[in-house]
């Protein structure tokens, strides 16, 4: 039973094939990594799966439903969530407010209730705040709850994005380079968080350059090069694959 299936996916940007005839599957409850040299198309792939880009050809099947061309918010309501390589934090809000936005689909969104400030809104928000504080604690950011995000350190913001993505109560979480720009200590923090997320039964798909992290936590690795699948398999299989070694060292 697969959670996510990508079939013959291709994306062209004016003549450049960023993703070329890519197919793979992701099983539920696994940590699945996507690696490859810079420019291999990893973020483009994420954008295609999460609806930020529309594929030129090919299809995406999520939870047995064809979701090709669905908008990101439609995928969010189906339990897909992600973080961004270039932080997309809501800098006009505090940390906890960022996480509370993540819970958007689970809250009362009635205009009339909001306009008149009905008690159900206040109760819902109070509840939400509690849950979100737990999430901040989960990623180790409880102390920053009411801090303005524009005064938080970079490493903390990377973890905040994860907390926000978790607030959507996802079935599958896509993390785009969660350790990018972090020092070894911060990377270890993120590592721990990812393992905790997976232990909650959430399927994790990871794009990473940090090989140590990837080899250590992944159940399955997909290697991309020039938008195409180079190979896939377990950490052991991939590590020893001569094509992978060549691609990274420049062949």
């Amino acid at each position: 039973m697969t959670l996510l299936k990508v079939n013959n996916l291709s994306k062209e940007f004016g003549g450049v094939r960023a993703i070329d005839d890519l197919s793979f599957t992701i099983n539920p409850g696994t940590i699945h990594s996507i690696i490859g040299p810079n420019g291999a198309g990893k973020t483009t792939l994420f954008n295609l799966i999460t609806g930020v880009y529309t594929p030129t050809t090919g299809s995406v099947i999520y939870d047995d439903e064809g979701v090709t061309g669905f908008k990101p918010y439609e995928l969010a309501s189906r339990g897909m969530s992600r973080t961004f390589q270039n932080l997309q934090i809501f800098f006009n809000m505090t940390a906890i407010e960022n996480v509370m936005v993540g819970a958007h689909l689970h809250l009362n969104r009635s205009f009339i209730s909001s306009f008149f400030g009905l008690p159900s809104i206040k109760a819902g928000d109070a509840n939400c705040r509690e849950t979100c504080l737990e999430l901040l604690d989960f990623v180790g950011l409880l102390e920053y709850a009411d801090t303005d995000t524009d005064s938080m350190p970079y490493g903390a913001l990377k973890r905040l994005e994860i907390a926000r993505a978790l607030a959507t109560k996802p079935k599958i979480l896509l993390l785009d380079e969660p350790a990018a720009g972090l020092n070894p200590a911060e990377s270890r923090d993120i590592d721990e968080v990812i393992k905790k997320v997976a232990s909650r039964g959430i399927t994790v798909v990871l794009v990473e350059h940090d090989m140590k992290m990837v080899m250590e936590i992944s159940d399955h690795i997909l290697v991309l090069d020039y938008g195409r699948k180079l190979t896939e398999g377990t950490a052991q299989e991939v590590r020893n694959n001569p094509d992978v070694i060549a691609a990274y060292l420049g062949g």
């Binding site: 940007f13 973020t43 954008n47 930020v52 961004f84 270039n86 997309q88």
Partner: protein, 291 residues
């Protein structure tokens, strides 16, 4: 029928040339600083009103024109130095309001230092209409068209062949890279504003003999010049020129063949159409946002 069409065409092209110059001024400033200069119309107004003033002081027409252009250019420099540069990094809305404030200040100054009356300038080479193909065209219109063509060609040369011009283009493409190449970006901004102001003033002077000028003359002209710039593609100088001509001709045709009361609406309907279907303008390229 043919003569009527020709008549509308002539007035449309004359008007269009004015819009083209105003739009060109917008583009130059937008390119250099990504600021929409809502005071551009006031530069146009200052050209015309300034010339009237200097004529009143006794200067002969060519000197009065020169003085007016120089005065307006000073205002352009002042706007950049005292209003835009200190506000760098402010949001789009804030910058828009700053330039609107500048336009109010300039109208206020003209109102106080000169007056609120309507004025006219003498035509450069007389008022006798010329007859072509059953339609008439004022000699002043030929001046408008001729000078506009000369200015556009001169600017083309300036941007493509001179160091300063190329520096302006480099800054508009990538400000940081330009700085790293040793281009004095602050100076480029400064010059751009001055150049735009001078262009605006020229437009105002060319047109003043045909239409009357007063302290409020810049408002609609500015807005329509803006439409010309958007039509052609914000930041595309030649596009602005083409846009100006299109707006001018469409206005004249619309007023002549359809409803003259809705003449002013034409420019704005055109930009709504462009913005809905091709926001980058008729001659603008396409872009994608990187996530």
């Amino acid at each position: 029928m043919g003569a009527e069409f020709l008549q509308f065409l002539f007035s449309g092209v004359t008007l269009g040339a004015t819009y083209a110059l105003v739009g060109l001024g917008f583009s130059i400033i937008y390119n250099a600083s990504h600021v929409i200069n809502f005071a551009q119309g006031e530069f146009v107004m200052m050209g015309g009103m300034g010339t009237v003033f200097f004529l009143g002081l006794g200067l002969p027409l060519p000197l009065a024109i020169l003085a007016a252009i120089m005065l307006t250019t000073m205002f352009g420099f002042a706007l950049e130095r005292f209003a835009i540069a200190p506000a760098r990094g402010a949001s789009v809305v804030t910058l828009i309001i700053i330039t609107i404030g500048a336009s109010i200040v300039m109208r206020g100054l003209v109102q106080v230092v000169w007056d609120k009356e309507f004025h006219s300038l003498p035509a450069f080479s007389g008022d006798d209409p010329i007859h072509i193909g059953g339609a008439t065209i004022l000699p002043q219109s030929l001046w408008v068209l001729g000078i506009t063509v000369i200015l556009v060609i001169a600017l083309r040369y300036f941007f493509e062949k001179t160091m300063m011009g190329k520096a302006i283009i480099a800054t508009s493409l990538n400000r940081d890279a330009a700085m790293l190449m040793g281009i004095n970006v602050r100076f480029v901004l400064f010059i751009s504003f001055g150049l735009s102001a001078a262009l605006g003033a020229a437009a105002g002077i060319l047109v003043a003999p045909i239409t009357l000028t007063n302290f409020e003359a810049g408002i609609m002209l500015g807005l329509k010049g803006f439409c010309a710039a958007i039509l052609g593609g914000l930041g595309n100088g030649m596009g602005a020129v083409a846009g100006g001509l299109i707006v001018g001709i469409a206005e004249a045709m619309g007023a002549g063949y359809w409803m003259s009361e809705y003449k002013d609406a034409v420019a704005f309907v055109l930009i709504l159409l462009v913005l809905f279907f091709k926001p980058s303008g008729l001659f603008g390229g396409r872009g994608t946002e990187r996530v």
